[in-house]
């Protein structure tokens, strides 16, 4: 039970994790993250890496859509920019992976800014369609350019650190998880500065924000840049993870997936992006378990899996928007509130 908080400095009041309980939880989580690869099977490590990549990308989209209020259906396309850049650099130049990741993310950010330019004049659906247009154009470019392997795509060597190949779920985990954590931390940091406040201001009332000294275009472009930077970085990690990048690797459906993830998780909260991405990554796996259990009773269970998965995906989006528009995060808040006052009830 927590009665009240006494803070002795503004810095303490502004810390990301401001209570002992939260800090304890954080330490526990970190320890769990460190221990996990030693106890989990490769399959669970694989899923953990996939979740982490999706969290990284969803967090980026959350900055753009959840915090700045600009809907993008191009997150997967920005990821493909990062992934292709990493693949090309790795194959052609063999530069260190950290550099490749940064260049990929930087390029994605540059393209993000370009795509964001119409956001000065159009918003809402018009902007979303502009991002679809950008996705289509990028897809066309990648599938017809010899540098990116045309329709065939690129297969690339693994990342290397001190001559050791990072090609196993175990080693990849140590590449992907820390990068994702830093990205999430960066996003949380960003949101407690002037830039984060400007994002929210643009989302809530863009016109008034301008009169209050917030340049609209620059703020929107910053948001596009950082969000596509995140996408590019996530895409780069994806490339190192799968080591093959094809034009089909990042379809429009994936962009919808990330949008769905932040809706289900809770738009405009960092925790929401994390919860949503993890949840949406695990749901298909869960359904797969279900189908496997059902197979002995109902032999067609496995073939019904894909349609059911598609239906569940749609139903989650619709269900959350209608019944729980603030997403999983709201459920989490309720749980926390419950324990907050525990054992007393309100």
């Amino acid at each position: 039970m927590r009665i009240g908080t006494l803070k002795t400095s503004y810095a303490a009041d502004e810390a990301l994790f401001d209570t002992a309980l939260q800090r304890g939880l954080l330490v526990a989580l970190l320890v769990a993250a460190v221990v996990f690869p030693f106890v989990a099977s490769p399959y669970w490590l694989f899923l953990a890496c996939l979740c982490a990549i999706n969290v990284a990308s969803a967090t980026g989209l959350n900055l753009l859509t959840g915090y700045t209020g600009l809907v993008s259906l191009g997150q997967a396309a920005f990821m493909s920019v990062g992934a292709y850049t990493v693949a090309v650099l790795e194959i052609r130049l063999g530069t260190p992976f950290a550099l490749n990741l940064l260049i990929g993310a930087g390029l994605a950010a540059a393209i993000g800014i370009l795509v964001g330019i119409p956001s000065l004049r159009v918003k809402g659906l018009y902007l979303a369609i502009a991002t679809i247009a950008a996705s289509v154009i990028l897809h066309f470019l990648f599938s017809h350019w010899t540098l990116t392997g045309e329709a065939r795509g690129l297969s690339m060597p693994p990342a290397r650190l001190f001559g050791i190949a990072i090609d196993q779920p175990f080693s990849l985990y140590w590449l992907i998880m820390p990068v994702t954590m830093l990205m999430v931390l960066g996003a949380a940091n960003l949101l407690r500065t002037r830039i984060g406040r400007a994002f929210i201001a643009v989302r809530d009332r863009d016109i008034s924000a301008e009169v209050l000294g917030i340049p609209l275009l620059r703020t929107k472009l910053t948001s596009f840049a950082i969000s596509s930077f995140y996408a590019g970085l996530a895409g780069g990690l994806w490339a190192y993870f799968f080591r093959v990048v094809t034009p089909e690797s990042f379809p429009l459906d994936n962009s919808i997936f990330y949008l769905a993830a932040i809706i289900v998780g809770g738009m405009g909260t960092i925790l929401g992006g994390i919860l949503g991405a993890v949840f949406m990554t695990l749901v298909p796996e869960l359904l797969k378990f279900g189908a496997n259990w059902l197979t002995p009773i109902y032999p067609d269970a496995l073939s019904a899996l894909a349609p059911v998965r598609t239906i569940v995906f749609g139903a989650l989006i619709v269900g959350f928007l209608i019944f729980e528009p603030r997403g999983l995060v709201e459920i989490w808040v309720r749980i926390r509130r419950f324990f907050h006052l525990w054992p007393f009830r309100t």
């Binding site: 369609i129 809706i263 349609p307 749609g314 619709v318």
Partner: protein, 292 residues
Amino acid sequence: MDALFLAEVMLAGIGSGALYALTGVAFVLIYKATRVVNLAIGEILMLGGYAFLGFAAGLGLPAIAALVLAVVTGGLLGWLVERSLIRPMLGESPISVFMVTIGLGSILVGLVQLGWGADPLRLPEFMPATPVFIGDAYLAPKVAVGFVAAAVVIAAFLALFRFSRSGVALKATAGDQGAAYSVGIDVPRVFSAAWILACATAAGAGVLVGAIGGISPTMGVFGLSVLVVVIIGGLDSIAGALVGGLLIGLVEALAGAFLGGEYKLVVTFTLLLLLLMVRPYGLFGTHEIERL
């Protein structure tokens, strides 16, 4: 390239453009009445195709009966969707509502796959097979039929809006929902009617599109081109959907003929992007004035 070939290509483009326009009109109808951007329009169109298949091949009904029933199914779906998904979202941000329609699209794809499988299927032949020649230029008979059907339906719509009371109600609702309500227009009924009409139209278009190219759960991507059409025409303009539809049909046909089929989508979307820079609210769309 000779002139005859060019003429044939353009005819084919206008033919498929008519179907874009028809679906675009359905889209605009919903937008005008309810301010909802319905991204599931392509999936509703797909469902129309499957419904036709179900009635015609499954139940063995004659084509015309199956067509009517497919359209009715579309209308029922529209009613159901408006009542159960759209109305609860009234007053929510447009982005939320538009995500609801994305979710709906996903559900429809899943349901169709559950029922009919993921394979592409063909509709039973019900259109004339005699080639149509306009001058010396060849036009695929199905495309010609599709064009005529689309033209008739769109003309009927235009007449309906211009000359009937429901048209007036729709216009009033589109202009200002509150004001429409206060002058005694049953706004919820206009909402329902718009969804029913639009989804029925989309389902009908689905039968035509399916007859030309076959049906599959992924045929909802047709909706992507329709989206381009209405963005170019302006979300709230029926005339815009018409012009946009024919324009995109033509552009796609010309790009397909002279650059190659793989260029179709990229050319239309590039065009779209350029247009958004110059005319952000489409050729005929209304620009909403921002207020502090």
